[in-house]
């Protein structure tokens, strides 16, 4: 299907909606620039991952119901979060099973495969690697666990960054190691979470980058929170915001 005739929605995610609206607006600007008229179904809320991953699967049922109602009828749903996209694609059917409602299971089966993480949507659906961005900074990328291991996005975020004009991408040591956020893990096991995060933050500092980029604001909130506490002077920034950046006046 041609991108221009596709009915595309942004699933901005509850965290971005509430705490990082700049990521959502960046997705909108970026997709419009690429000729996609993206919509925001206002009934949307959350993927339910926090509930599922903490064991509150019954409580996730109404959240998943809201999700399928909000996104029914769209050809593609774009989420600026590998973790939330992975939750929709891998966990919604578990939640539907728990609900015992076959209709919900059918709706989940229809909608889940149409949900894409941003870099997947850009490369796999739109077929673009160079999104026409300009970002003249030294950048390092944290490849988030769920986008890599659950979604299998591979090096897509990296490909997109490499095509950004002015951007210098530096390798992050031990890049594939988890940052330690892990949702409620950060609160249930704060000591281990911080031990993991401070190693990640140290590796980020070792790169000499000005900007730490990732496809998930949850991980960035954790690593970024450690970096600002240390007054490291490194900015945490979502991939969408880098890709939405253009030369002033462009």
């Amino acid at each position: 299907m041609e991108p221009s005739v596709m009915k595309v929605a942004v699933f901005v995610t509850c965290l971005n909606d509430t705490m990082f609206p700049g990521t959502g607006t960046a997705v909108v600007r970026l997709l419009r620039r690429l000729g996609v008229d993206v919509e925001f179904p206002a009934a949307q809320t959350c993927c339910g991952q926090m509930h599922v991953n903490t064991g509150y699967v019954a409580e996730a049922v109404p959240i998943v119901r809201t999700f399928v109602e909000a996104f029914a009828g769209y050809d593609a749903v774009v989420a600026p979060s590998g973790s939330c996209a992975a939750s929709v694609r891998h966990q919604h059917r578990l939640v539907a099973r728990r609900s015992g409602d076959p209709r919900l299971a059918r709706e989940v089966a229809t909608i889940s495969p149409r949900v894409y993480e941003l870099s997947e949507f850009l490369i796999d659906v739109l077929g673009v690697v160079d999104v026409g961005a300009y970002f003249p900074h030294r950048v390092t990328l944290h490849p988030t666990c769920h986008s890599r291991r659950m979604l299998g996005v591979g090096d897509k975020p990296e490909q997109l960054l490499r095509a950004v004009r002015g951007l210098t991408l530096v390798d992050l040591p031990e890049a594939h190691e988890c940052c330690g956020f892990g949702g409620t893990f950060a609160l249930k096991n704060p000591d281990v979470s911080v031990a993991m995060g401070s190693d990640k933050a140290r590796h980020v500092r070792e790169t000499g980058a000005e900007v730490l980029v990732a496809g998930d604001n949850s991980c960035l909130m954790h690593i970024g929170g450690l970096l600002t506490r240390e007054r490291a002077g490194i900015r945490a920034m979502h991939l969408a915001e880098v890709l939405a950046s253009t030369e002033p006046g462009a």
Partner: protein, 496 residues
Amino acid sequence: MSPATFLGMPPFPVAAREALANSQQRGNLRNATRTIRAKRAGVVGEVDDWEQLRRAGAAIKDEVLGNLDGYLEQLEASLTLAGATVHWARDAAEANRVVIDIARRHHVDEVVKVKSMVTGEIELNAALEAAGISAWETDLAELIVQLGDDLPSHILVPAIHRNRSEVREIFLREMGKNGIPADVDLTDDPADLAGAARRHLREKFLRAKMAVSGANFAVADTGTLVVVESEGNGRMCLTLPEVLVSVVGIEKIVPTWTDLEVFLQLLPRSSTGERMNPYTSTWSGVTPGDGPHEVHVVLLDNGRTSVLADEVGRQALRCIRCSACLNVCPVYERTGGRAYGSVYPGPIGAILTPMLRGIGTDEATDSLPYASSLCGACFEACPVLIDIPEVLVHLREKVVDAHRGRMPGTVATTMTGASWLLTNGHRLAALQMLAGVSRRIFWRRGRIGRMPPPLSRWTDARDAPAPPRESFRAWWARTDGGRGARRADDDGRDER
């Protein structure tokens, strides 16, 4: 001296906090896991059909688990035919009693042991001790743990938390109390330490009348047990003593001798990062004039059938105890194994221990499924494709369900509230409005610093972002998705 036990250990977050402060262990684990990860990656990378091997390993185990009753009967028959005596043990107490009875019948007051996870699981050493029988561990690292009256911290390298000068001190202090002492001028040179262990152990190998082992595999059609090891101590235990007792979990079965082909490739490459392990011992019952005169096999359930009854959790029974999941786990690397409060540490322990013991038994057990950031590195490494994150999430669901009906705690209340808020866009919008107002209270360069409990769990070590002036949905409604933007910053460019 009665052996150390995992009983009564605190919940994972508490044990982990202490472990994180153990600088010796942190350093050892960092180095050891990094080295072994690199070795494993190297030898796995050179096998072209590694993914097929993993699928084959999983399929063979699933075949066994799906027809376990039949395979167990087949194994019993083939073992008996080969001259072994088969015993069935429902739980740890039954298994321990069988071993003690055999020891008593032969009037032995000591046994030598090959490193085995399952005898750790049933705490056989403590049971033997109580019956007046000494159990000598003969694996080097297991010996260090035993002499140091310590607990194991890794499946494969149980003394990974010790350094060599500690080992030297333990040997000097303890060996003499338990047999041949270490030379007074013992150095901490690894070869010297190994030499002391050899002399100490050799006396026991030559004297002991009875050995106890586990098994890595039990071949159903030939009645063969297999032990895979690196030091040769297993070979000594399995061939020298007159009586050999092997305690074997019922999930250790492989159907045929040829199936070993798959596992003898998967196991050494995943565990020690070697192409082949140094010693592979196999024995089928009794061979007159060669090896033990009496061979016993104790087939142990101890919770395995209830794991089998769990549709999602049963995949954990495929585990071949290679420890690859430990070595790639960022949580394990920092906490070490003892924080998991069980002989089975790391990711596999976090799923296996609660299933064997039963969810809802105690707080420590219920904390284990939460001892993971769900990063998925374990699943990626597991040679038999156990989806550990999937099982972790499944067990968390069971933990929560087991506590339903009791007084809801902070987490439960928060989760119920959050579910209500997140089921409806308008409710979420109202919350966001409140957050926008609170921004004025907490604002400090866009960051929130230290906060009182329970928020301190986040803010003790990390800043938190201050809520934005306006949520995304409010921006969308106000500007018609940026299409009606009149001011430059109304395209949402400003916020961070």
